[in-house]
């Protein structure tokens, strides 16, 4: 059965092909069956494979389907590698993916491009599975680019609006910057180690490179570049909020649950490289932390429901990076999984909300939706609690692990911990700000008639609610993957600190409650202070990063393109032509038609040549 692992990406790929080749001529029902069904089949297969794998005693399993290419020692294959890590990823992708597909069959039901939507979605799942199952970095890169492409296609799904197209291109290009860095990383690894098979690379790197050696640092840095791009971490985070232009199930699947966590997966997958480059690993932690805080502050100010969730995603992935940075590999993956549950839940629920209020996304035009949209309310409640790490929800366990691991780290651990806790505090505030504004108070915009739903939309929500609540109790089988180098001892933290950690997000919730529900504190009053206005504007614009990048990169590029549209080099040849024409114009004037002038030229030629002859 394990041999059939290649079926996993094949189902959605076939689904994609079926949908593309029929070109939208199939009835929606069949499209839905193909679209969601193929992922469902994948999930079933994945579950069976997982069961079998866990029942077995092997730490990993490799299956080469065919040799991709063999060029002088460069021999990547289409081979799949299954171990605890990829197992978790594969289950999350197919499981959560299936639920979101199911949900989408309802959410997109009225869209004329229903079939196109599912073809992209299926392609995405296939690519994502390639990414996590690939046993070599080239195959991983294939998946990596593939998901990027699908992300582009789906963000720009509603292509008639140029803004969506812009967002899509931005997402693709910004991540491509990271991808390029990663590609260079691959070149470096191959040049130095002679292979791109992940396990061989790790083994060879450990054997050949000293800890902290320049090559290790360079390689790790380059891979990190790829990871921050895909996972929307500083400094390549700017694309994610704009990516919310896509249909909401996309945001749930790609920009929350799976693709954006690919960076985390990559670092976890190649963790040994980062271990022999400790400075880079520490950089990972810092990037994570700064992103946590930055995104947290931004989320405080946003008004678009999906953008808030996007920034929270960014922030949560920051936690995962933090975990990676402090060496808590399994905690990172754990958080990846729980985050997939509750963030998918939140996004899908927000999808229901948005659909119910007729595509309104501004939270200040909502309000009091608690009664009208009970399922969404419940979903949001549970999702928000998990997101803020409310005790014994899934998010609690995973975030706790991360913060504790940070605290136990030597050196900058404490600072990282403090930052992480501060982040959790912000999470509490912005999450419940959204929650209170949308579901409580009075409605300021559309009043929904009834909640959009149905079993294929609500079913996934219920399942995800359950997973968000109890997902923290799932034990992920990654010990064998990270057996090397991870600190595996019980956490020795005093109850006081632990209690503090639990309390901080709750304080955040309370503050949010006071501001946005009880209205004891007035947001207007706060906003009347100039400094908070400035901060608000600053945070609202995402710390001005877009502004900065526009001026540093985009505008100069556009300017250069514009002034050189005609191609400077061509003007050199144009000059030659001009020169020839000018010479012609000049020399033609010697042909005056006068015999005496012609005779003169003969005489002159005579004199010149004779002078040459005599003088030389």
């Amino acid at each position: 059965m394990l041999d059939l692992i290649w079926l996993l990406p094949s189902y959605p790929l076939l689904g994609f092909l079926a949908l593309v080749l029929t070109g939208g001529r199939l009835p929606k029902k069949i499209v839905a069956i193909i679209g969601a069904g193929s992922v469902g089949l994948s999930f079933l297969t994945a579950a069976i494979i997982a069961a079998q794998f866990l029942a077995g005693s092997e730490d990993y399993f490799v299956k080469e389907v065919w040799a991709w290419m063999a060029v002088g020692g460069f021999t990547p294959g289409f081979s799949f590698y299954l171990d605890g890590l990829s197992l978790v990823m594969m289950l999350v992708i197919t499981g959560v993916g299936f639920l979101i597909h199911l949900y989408a069959t309802g959410y997109m039901a009225d869209d004329p491009s229903f079939s196109r939507f599912f073809s992209y979605m299926n392609l995405f799942v296939a690519a994502m599975l390639m990414l996590v199952l690939g046993d070599n970095l080239v195959l991983l890169y294939l998946g990596w680019e593939g998901v990027g492409l699908c992300s582009y296609l789906l963000i720009g799904f509603w292509y008639t609006n140029p803004a969506n197209g812009y967002a899509a291109r931005k997402a693709f290009i910004v991540t491509r910057v990271g991808d390029t860095s990663m590609a260079i990383g691959l070149f470096l690894l191959f040049a130095q180690l002679g292979t791109l098979n992940i396990q061989d690379v790790l083994y060879a790197a450990e054997a050949e490179w000293e800890v902290g050696s320049g090559l290790a640092i360079a390689a790790a840095l380059l891979l990190l570049g790829g990871a921050v791009g895909k996972s929307a971490q500083l400094p390549l985070q700017t694309w994610l909020p704009d990516a919310m232009a896509g249909p909401t199930p996309i945001s749930a699947l790609i920009h929350a649950a799976t693709m954006v966590t690919a960076g985390v997966y990559l670092i976890a997958r190649t963790h040994i490289l980062f271990e022999i480059a400790p400075s880079v690993q520490l950089l990972v932690a810092w990037i994570g932390l700064i992103t946590v805080l930055m995104a947290g502050f931004i989320a405080l100010t946003q008004s678009d429901i999906k953008r808030i969730l996007a920034f929270s995603t960014m922030s949560q992935i920051g936690y995962m990076f933090l975990a990676l940075g402090v060496g808590a590999w399994s905690a990172a993956i754990f958080h990846l999984m729980t985050h997939a549950f509750f963030k998918a839940l939140l996004f899908l629920a927000s999808g229901t909300v948005i659909l119910s209020v007729h595509h309104e996304q501004n939270i200040f035009k909502m309000g009091g939706l608690r009664k009208k949209l009970p399922v969404s309310f419940a979903s949001f409640l549970i999702g928000s609690l998990a997101l803020t790490a409310f005790p014994f929800t899934s998010g609690y366990f995973s975030k706790d692990e991360i913060l504790l691991a940070a605290l136990e780290m030597d050196g900058p651990g404490t600072i990282l911990w403090v930052g992480g806790v501060l982040g959790a505090f912000l999470t509490g505030i912005y999450t419940f700000r959204l929650f209170f504004i949308v579901f409580f108070g009075e409605n300021k915009g559309h009043v929904p008639e009834n909640e959009v739903g149905g079993i294929h939309m609500n079913g996934p929500l219920f399942l995800l609610m359950i997973l968000s609540l109890v997902g923290g109790f799932i034990a992920i089988p990654v010990d064998s993957v990270f057996s090397y180098g991870e600190v595996h001892e019980e956490h020795h933290v005093s109850t006081l600190i632990h209690g503090f950690m639990i309390a901080v997000p709750l304080i955040g919730i309370v503050i949010s409650y006071l501001f946005f529900y009880a209205k004891i504190f007035s947001i207007e009053k706060l906003m009347s202070i100039p400094i908070s206005q400035i901060l608000h504007r600053f945070w609202f614009s995402g710390w001005g990063m877009d502004w900065l990048y526009d001026r540093l990169i985009v505008f100069p590029f556009l300017w250069l393109s514009k002034i050189n549209k005609a191609d400077l080099i061509d003007s050199f040849y144009a000059f030659i032509v001009k020169f020839a024409r000018a010479s012609n114009a000049m020399i033609v004037r010697t042909q005056t038609g006068y015999i005496r002038w012609y005779a003169l030229s003969i005489a002159a030629g005579l004199v010149v040549l004779i002078s040459i002859g005599v003088l030389l």
Partner: protein, 499 residues
């Protein structure tokens, strides 16, 4: 002997196609198609033969001009076969793209088309340098006619520029070829233009560099590479679709082929010391032309500049001169042959339908021509180097190999990957995305791709996916050739490095 047939079938077919117009204007295209398909089948039959000891699958050698030691020497090895097959395949595609587009002077058109193909086949098979040069020039004339007669508004300028660029640099190559022959006369005692004979020539460093430059300039003009690229955008934007297909798909590859087959092996030492400059030019080509491409509003100009950019990877790969890089260059040649040809066909198809190439006048076409949009998306994505498609294999291998040769330049070149996505996606945005208004164009003929067109595009898609998913079937053919070339130069390189 089969090689002579390969070429002469096209020559003869061209003449018959021309003459048949008098009987019925519908005949030339059919005759052309039959001729090229026949040729393609012949090429496939070459694949079946076993290579001899030197790796040559088929060859023919006859005296031609004994006074100069010139012989009519054709031979193919794996590398040539790949490119010949590409030629045949794109030949069929080009005829397909001209099928409805060319309505005037049909016979002469297919005559020129087939003669261009014949010239290209000659270039890919000639192993006598005089013969090579002969074919090199022969393919220009019919191509000139194709642009000058069936081209668009500024065809005179474009055709002229194309011709003069390639001719003038060709003369530089001629001088270099003659230098080689002359050295053979001095060192061995007789004149010879035979490739194998000339490989044995030893030259002083200084002279070798100059002679090599003659070849380099000719080849990089055809390729093209900065700073000799500026004929290409004009030629492409003015050529009829079939012309662009042949130009981008095949003609450019002759330059790359020349670099691999002649420029480096004949002058290993000079090439070694020149490699950093060549690679720098490649990097400049990649980045500069990607940037210029982005600024274009004429879709064909844009694609033309992207061709230059992609060909930069080929130069990069060739001058990195190791197995991965060379295979990458070869794969890029093949994959770009298909993807660029397809993009030009799309552009041509659009122009045929709405009579403009200006992208700002377009927009939102997805709703009108969804199949075309999907096809365009596919090839744009292929062009930006999506793994799983042929272009990725080529560019990745080229960069992978180049990295081992020169880290800095490779890293800079890799940024081309980013710029490729910038312009590729911009094209999709400009033409297919956005709101459809149809205000600035006459959209009465804006119809989706028909079955015949879909067939051609489908074939090219299958080709690209094949190259992307199982490139080994192509790599296997070129591998022994490239390894042989590498082995031959290895000792020389080693000697140079020691000194």
């Amino acid at each position: 002997m089969i090689l002579v047939w390969l070429i002469s079938i096209l020559f003869v077919g061209g003449i018959i196609a021309w003459l048949s117009e008098r009987i019925n204007p519908a005949y030339p295209r059919m005759i052309a198609l039959i001729t090229v398909v026949l040729d393609l089948l012949l090429m496939l039959s070459v694949l079946g033969s076993e290579p001899n000891a030197g790796g040559w699958i088929a060859s023919v050698n006859a005296e031609w001009v004994p006074r100069f030691g010139i012989s009519f020497y054709l031979a193919v090895d794996g590398l040539s076969v790949l490119l010949i097959l590409l030629t045949g395949f794109l030949g069929v595609i080009a005829i397909g793209s001209a099928w409805d587009e060319i309505k005037e002077r049909v016979g002469f058109f297919y005559f020129n088309l087939l003669w261009t193909l014949a010239g290209v086949l000659g270039v890919f098979t000639a192993l006598d340098l005089f013969l090579f040069f002969f074919f090199w020039e022969v393919m220009l004339i019919p191509m000139y006619f194709i642009i000058a007669i069936w081209g668009h508004e500024n065809k005179n300028y474009a055709a002229m520029k194309f011709f003069i660029f390639t001719q003038v640099t060709g003369m530089l190559m001629l001088v270099s070829i003659l230098m080689l022959a002359y050295f053979h006369l001095v060192q061995i005692g007789n004149l010879s233009f035979n490739y194998h004979d000339l490989l044995r020539i030893e030259m002083g460093n200084q002279i070798e560099m100059w002679v090599m430059l003659g070849f380099f300039v000719a080849f990089t003009t055809k390729l093209p590479s900065v700073p000799f690229h500026s004929w290409l955008p004009d030629a492409h934007s003015q050529a009829p679709t079939a012309g662009s297909v042949i130009l981008a798909g095949i003609l450019l590859k002759t330059g790359a082929y020349g670099l691999i087959r002649f420029a480096v092996p004949l002058f290993p030492e000079a090439s070694l010391s020149f490699a950093p400059i060549a690679m720098t030019l490649a990097a400049i080509s990649i980045l500069y032309c990607a940037k210029v491409a982005f600024a274009q509003t004429d879709i064909k100009r844009l694609i033309a500049y992207t061709s230059v950019s992609h060909m930069g990877f080929v130069t990069l790969g060739i001058y990195a001169w190791n197995e991965q890089a060379l295979q990458g260059a070869v794969m890029t040649m093949l994959a770009h042959g298909l993807s660029a040809a397809a993009l030009f066909m799309l552009a041509g198809g659009l122009q045929h339908r709405i009579h403009t190439r200006e992208m700002p006048d377009m927009g939102g076409f997805w709703i009108k021509v969804p199949r075309m949009a999907v096809v365009a998306l596919f090839f744009s994505v292929a062009a930006l180097g999506m793994p799983g498609l042929g272009n990725f294999v080529g560019e990745f291998l080229a960069l992978l190999g180049a990295f081992q040769a020169n880290i800095t330049i490779t890293v800079i070149s890799a940024f081309g990957l980013i710029l490729a996505s910038v312009y590729s996606l911009w094209v999709i945005q400009m033409i297919f995305h956005g709101e459809y208004t149809g205000k600035k164009i006459d959209d009465s003929h804006l119809t989706d791709l028909n079955g015949r067109e879909m067939f051609y595009f489908g074939a090219m898609m299958v080709g690209l996916v094949w190259m992307g998913m199982y490139p080994q079937s192509f790599l296997n053919l070129s591998q022994p050739v490239l390894v042989e070339l590498l082995n031959n130069t290895q000792s020389i390189f080693a000697a140079v490095v020691q000194n």
